[in-house]
Amino acid sequence: MKQTNKPSMSRVLRRRETFSAYLFLLPSLIFFIGFVIIPMVLCLYTSFFDSKLNANTPDVFVGFANYVELWRDPVFKKALVNTLVIVVVSVPTVAAFSLWVASAIYKMKDWMLSAFRCIFYLPVVTGSVAVTVVWKWMYNNYYGIFNYVLKGVGAIDNNINWLGNPSTALWCIIIILFTTSVGQPIVLYVSALGNVDASLVEAANVDGANNLQSFWKVKWPSIMPTTLYIIVITTINSFQCFALIQLLTSGGPNNATQTVMYYIYYTAFKLYRFGYGNAMGIILAIFIAVLSAFQFWLAKEK
C-alpha cells in the first residue's frame, strides 16, 4: 500500500463526505443554473431567431442572419470600437494608477491607510446614479465646474460642451469610469504589497538592490497574481460599461459614446429586437473570453 501524509479515509466515509458537499452546493448550484447557465444558452439560441419575446409574434428562425447584419451595422462597429477604446485606455491606467497609489500608501500608519482606502473606495460604494448626477453637473455646458474653473483661469474662452461634443464625450465617460474603477484595485494592491515577504525585500537590499530594482525583481513578481486579477476584472467591467452611458449620453452625440453594452440594451429593450441584441451579446462574450484568456496566457509566460 502507498503511504501518504493524510490519513486515508474509508470509501464509505469519503462517499458520505462527497454527498454532503453536493448538498451544501445545491442552493447556489440551482441559482447558478437557473440564472446564469439557462439564460446563456437561451441567449445563444435566440440569437439565431428573429425574436420579439412576444407570444403573439412567434420567433422566426433566421440562421446567421443576425450575425451577418451585425457585420454590416455601422453603429455596432462604432460601438465596438468605442468599447475597445475604453478597455484599452482604462485597463492599463487603472492598473498603473492603483499600483502607484497603493505603493505610496501601504506603509503608512493604520489610520492614514484607512483614510486613503476610504477616499478611493467611496465612488465604488456610492450608488452609480448619485455619482453620475454629480459628474453630469460638473460637465454641464452652462454652469459646470470644469467650464467655470477653466474659464476662470483663462485656459478657454468659450464654454465647452463636454458631453455634447463627439470629440470629448467618450473621454468624459472614460474619466468617470476610471474614478469608479480604481477603488477595488487599490484595496487589493495594498493588501498584496503588505503580504510581500519582507525578508525578500531585505535580502534584495543587502544584495545591493535600490528601491526600483527591489520593486521590479521582488515585489512585482510577488504581486503578479493580484495584477492579473485586477486586469481581468477591469477588462470585464470596462467591456460592460453601461449605466454611465444610459444616465449621461444615451450613446450620443451621434453615437460617439455608443458602447456594445448600451447598444444591446437599446436594440433589445427599445427596438424589441431580442434576437439581434443577443447576437451582439454573444460577440461581446467572445471578445471578453478571448481577451481574458490572452491576459492569463501572457501572465503565465512571464
Binding site: D197, S199, L200, E202, A203, A204, N205, V206, D207, G208, A209, N210, Q213, K217, V218, P221, S222
Partner: protein, 370 residues
C-alpha cells in the same frame, strides 16, 4: 574583510521597547563572532542594525574605519543569510546566487565563474537550474549561504541559519560552516540561540540577555570562567548545578560549607579570593555536572537518586540534594559493574566537588566573585 566597531549601540523600537542597551564590541578582521542568548534577547536586532535593516537609535557603528550609521544596506558591502533563507522564489538557484553580482555589473564570465565556484564549495551544482521550492530545507540553506559567499563581502552576517534544520542536518551543516570559514576568509557575525553552535563556531562569543551583554570571551573563557550565574547556566549541557554555600574567611584561608559539609577550595581560587579581599559571606556555589564526583568520604554531600539516564558512555544522574534538583554526569567506566546500567530510584549516594572546578557567585549581584 574588515574590522567592526560597535560603540554604545542602542535600539529603541517604536513604542518604546528598548531591545538593545549600550552594546560595545570590537571585532577583529576575519574574526568569527557568535552572538548567543535566549530568544528575544536582542541578537537579531543587533545583527539587523549591523546590516542596516534596522535603524541604530543611539551609538556608532564602524565598518573598517567608516562610520556607517546612515549608510544604506546596499552600500555597506555586507552579505546576510536569513533564518527563513529569503530565497527569491521566482528565480532559479543560479539566478538567486548571481543576483547581487549582476546588480554590481560584474562581467558575465566572472559572475559565472564565481557562482560555479560557490556551488562547487557547497555541493549544489546539480540544482543550479531549479527553483527554490523544488529544494529540500538543507539545500535551500546551502543556496542561501551560496548567495552570500559569491559576493566576497566585507562582513558575513548569519541569523540562526541552522535553526530550521533537523538535528542531524544541523550537525552536518555546522561542520560545513567551519570548513567554509577556511575557504571564505572574511569577518563573520553569527547569531544563534544554541550554545553548542556558539561554542564550536566562535572565535569569541557574546552572550546576551534582555538586550544586555553578559560576557564576551573565547569559548574556553566563558566555559571556564563564567562572568555571572546566567552565563554559567547558559553555557554547558546539562546546566551547571548551583548550591547555597557559606564562605568564611579564617585568617589566611577561606573555608566553604555547603549543606553543613566542608568543601575544599583549590589553591588558585584561594589566591584569587585573597587578592580581591572577599569578606565572609553567603555565596552561590556552581559546579558543572561533569565535574561533580561520586564519593564515599565521610564529609561528602548526601543525595538520593530521582532519575538515572543511561546515555551510552555515561550516565546522567538526576539527584535530590536536600530538596534541590541537581544533575551529575558519571562516565560508565568509573562505575562498578552492577551500576553500569544505572541506579535504582531512591538510592542514597554521596558526592563531592573537585577543589579547582567550583565557581563562586555573589547571591545579590549574581556576578562571579573573582
Amino acid at each position: 574583510m574588515a574590522t567592526l566597531q560597535l560603540k554604545n549601540i542602542k535600539k529603541i523600537y517604536e513604542g518604546g521597547v528598548e531591545a538593545v542597551h549600550s552594546f560595545n564590541l570590537d571585532i577583529a578582521d576575519k574574526e568569527f563572532i557568535v552572538l548567543v542568548g535566549p530568544s528575544g534577547c536582542g541578537k537579531s536586532t543587533t545583527l539587523r542594525m549591523i546590516a542596516g535593516l534596522e535603524e541604530i537609535s543611539e551609538g556608532e557603528l564602524y565598518i573598517g574605519d567608516k562610520l556607517v550609521n546612515e549608510v544604506e544596506p546596499k552600500d555597506r558591502d555586507i552579505a546576510m543569510v536569513f533564518q527563513s533563507y529569503a530565497l527569491y522564489p521566482y528565480m532559479t538557484v543560479y539566478e538567486n546566487m548571481s543576483f547581487a553580482l549582476k546588480l554590481r555589473h560584474l562581467p558575465k564570465d566572472e559572475i559565472d565563474q564565481r557562482v560555479r565556484w560557490a556551488a562547487e564549495v557547497l555541493d549544489i551544482t546539480k540544482y543550479l537550474d531549479r527553483k527554490p521550492k523544488a529544494l529540500s530545507g538543507g539545500q535551500r540553506q546551502r543556496v542561501a549561504i551560496g548567495r552570500a559567499i559569491v559576493r566576497e563581502p566585507k562582513v558575513f552576517l548569519m541569523d540562526e541559519p541552522l535553526s530550521n534544520l533537523d538535528a542531524k542536518l544541523r550537525n552536518q551543516m555546522r561542520a560545513e560552516i567551519i570548513k567554509l570559514r577556511k575557504k571564505v576568509n572574511t569577518t563573520f557575525i553569527y547569531v544563534t540561540h544554541d550554545q553548542t553552535e556558539a561554542m564550536t563556531l566562535g572565535d569569541r562569543i557574546v552572550i546576551m540577555k534582555d538586550g544586555w551583554i553578559m560576557q564576551i570571551g573565547t569559548p574556553q573563557e566563558v566555559f571556564d570562567h563564567p562572568a555571572n550565574i546566567f552565563v554559567a547556566g547558559f553555557i554547558g549541557m546539562p546546566q551547571m548545578n548551583f548550591f547555597d554555600g557559606e564562605l568564611a574567611k579564617n585568617g589566611e584561608k577561606y573555608q566553604l560549607t555547603v549543606n553543613g559539609c566542608p568543601v575544599e577550595i583549590g589553591e588558585s581560587l584561594q589566591q584569587a579570593l585573597k587578592e580581591k579581599d572577599v569578606p565572609s559571606k553567603k555565596v552561590i556555589v556552581g559546579c558543572r555536572p561533569e565535574h561533580i564526583e561520586l564519593s564515599s568520604a565521610d564529609n561528602a554531600l548526601k543525595a538520593t537518586v530521582d532519575v538515572s539516564e543511561m546515555m551510552g558512555s555515561e550516565i546522567h544522574l538526576h539527584l535530590n540534594c536536600e530538596g534541590k534538583d541537581i544533575v551529575i554526569r558519571v562516565p560508565s567506566t568509573k562505575l562498578s559493574a552492577e551500576h553500569r546500567g544505572g541506579f535504582e530510584f531512591g538510592t542514597d549516594l554521596k558526592f563531592a566537588f573537585p577543589a579547582d572546578l567550583i565557581h563562586l557567585f555573589d547571591p545579590e549581584t549574581e556576578n562571579n566573585l573573582i
